[in-house]
Amino acid sequence: MVKRQIGYLPDTVGFYGQMTGRQNLRYTAQLNDLAAETVEGRIESLLARVGLADVADRPVGSYSRGMRQRLGIADTLVKDPLVVILDEPMVGIDPEGVMEMQSLIAGLARQEQRAVLLTSHLLHQVQRTCDRLAIFVDGRILAEGTAGDLATELADGRSTFEIVSDSNDRDIREAVDRVFGDSGDIRVVGSRRWRVCVSADAAPRLIPALVTAGIDVREVRDLGADLDEIYHRYFTSAGEVTV
């Protein structure tokens, strides 16, 4: 059965609240028909690995969300799968937990040579964790490759900069328009923040243009291969990013 080789972590993972973490894992092991003798040791080491060893015998009802999520990872690994599918594994947990989760996931793929498939809307994290990504919009793959590939492919020879300035909106738009004309694209992204998108070869002319126009520039940052930015520019419709 295929399900024996695939570990799946749903986005809202649930456990039996009245059972302890260890009992929940044991139940999964039994459903996988694993021999009781070998499985206890594996459960023990998995619990230690996800940092739940000292709470293993407390009912899951008392766990925090991050703890449940980590128990979920342990749960998918009980059957020692070849493929691990994680659905939004980093949603709703604290930054510390996200870091731990990322190193856990990276460990699964790199040290244990499991295929890890994860879906997420948190593009920065995807960028940091994943080897290959694919962007889905409306159920179709729009782009696929490493984060770098995707950026080049999707950026389509254009660069994006973030400008922080005290000058007013009209002056900045005029300055950008004067130099880049229609090829420049500018929009407001926050108070005193603008994003400018220009063709990559014309990019070095941006800062001189702003300076000549007498704009008070506080900061200009190259967003480069920033997934959020690419994503926003190309697919305003709802989509999902997958490794």
Partner: protein, 328 residues
């Protein structure tokens, strides 16, 4: 994964089937749950009360009834003192609560906890989930009914000073089977509610509502419907018989009627018919007792009817569950 690995996986067979794993876990959960303890205590207490009063009533009439067949079994069928129920009717009335209590959150509880997607992602068949839960529910209810009945029988031995004969014991065992099947009907119904209704509270309300209607108004509905289908014509005595027959047939659609007929025939050897009996038939009849096999023969249709009801309701729950989408 090499080709050889794939072949190993193909021929891979389980040492313990999936439904058994599910059933074992559910059974443990039930036994450790508060509702199990509460229901067991409730049933135990009421059962003891009915039997205590019944034993009192029996001792009063002991001189005339000694040596009649099924004396011990009267403990279950006689009501005495201030209580309006015999043990039998009391089980018939309260047993559905047992069935509903262990069924109403079987599937929607898993949904609410978010454990269902994880469960079906394991290498078991999907029906293992619902089958295992049903088996576990039947097992727990069987346990409760047996415990309560044995408790009652033990108290009866103490109070009456007589022990059940072999045939009485067989009758009791048969009745236990009938009672578990009867509760199984309600367990199946509770499970059906838990599959169809997303919230456990709604499922419980609906199941209990249906049980109240069937238990309290079932007879009334049968009577009204019978009067419509075959009204009584005063000038024609045969029409009264027709009316009564229709009413009986309709009321037998309810598992409660089937259970009551089965239990009374099984626990009272003197009952020779569960159908209509006219005065002419009773006239000159010699009071005698049926053997166990004859009583069993008498209630066989009722037993089959209850089993059929249980199977049909469970099948509805099963099909609905198999066609439902499971998602987080």
């Amino acid at each position: 994964m090499t080709v050889q690995d794939v072949r190993v996986l193909d021929t891979w067979s389980r040492r313990r089937p999936g439904w058994m794993v599910v059933a074992r876990k559910e059974f443990t959960d039930h036994i450790l749950s508060v509702r199990f303890v509460a229901l067991l205590m409730l049933l135990g207490l009421v059962a003891l009360a009915t039997v205590y009063t019944a034993a009192g009533a029996l001792r009063d009439v002991a001189p005339e009834t000694t040596d009649t067949a099924g004396m011990f079994l009267r403990l279950f069928t006689v009501r005495g003192g201030p209580l309006p129920f015999s043990f039998l009717t009391f089980v018939g009335f309260l047993a559905p609560i047992l069935g509903i209590a262990f069924g109403f959150d079987a599937v929607n509880g898993e949904r609410a906890q978010g454990t269902l997607p994880r469960l079906v992602a394991q290498p078991i068949y999907r029906d293992d989930v619902i089958n295992g839960k049903f088996v576990a529910g039947l097992g727990v209810m069987g346990l409760i009914v047996v415990v309560v009945t044995v408790l009652v029988a033990g108290l009866g031995i103490l109070l009456l000073g007589i022990v059940p004969t072999l045939s009485e014991t067989v009758r009791m065992a048969m009745w236990l089977v009938a009672a578990v099947i009867f509760i199984g009907v309600w367990l199946a119904f509770g499970t059906l509610c838990s599959v169809m209704l997303k919230r456990a509270a709604t499922a419980a309300l609906v199941a209990i509502g249906v049980w109240l209607v069937v238990a309290l108004f079932g007879a009334l509905f049968a009577q009204v419907a019978a009067d419509v289908v075959s009204p009584v014509d005063v000038s024609n005595p045969a029409s009264a018989l027709d009316n009564a027959r229709t009413e009986l047939t309709l009321s037998r659609l309810s598992p409660v009627t089937l259970y009551e007929e089965t239990s009374s025939a099984l626990l009272t050897p003197q009952v020779r018919s569960v159908g209509l009996v006219t005065f002419a038939q009773l006239d000159q009849a010699i009071v005698s007792s049926l053997t166990v096999s004859q009583s069993l023969l008498l209630v066989w249709p009722q037993m089959v009817g209850m089993i059929a009801a249980m199977v049909v309701i469970f099948a509805a729950a099963y099909i609905t569950f198999m066609r439902q989408e499971v998602r987080a």
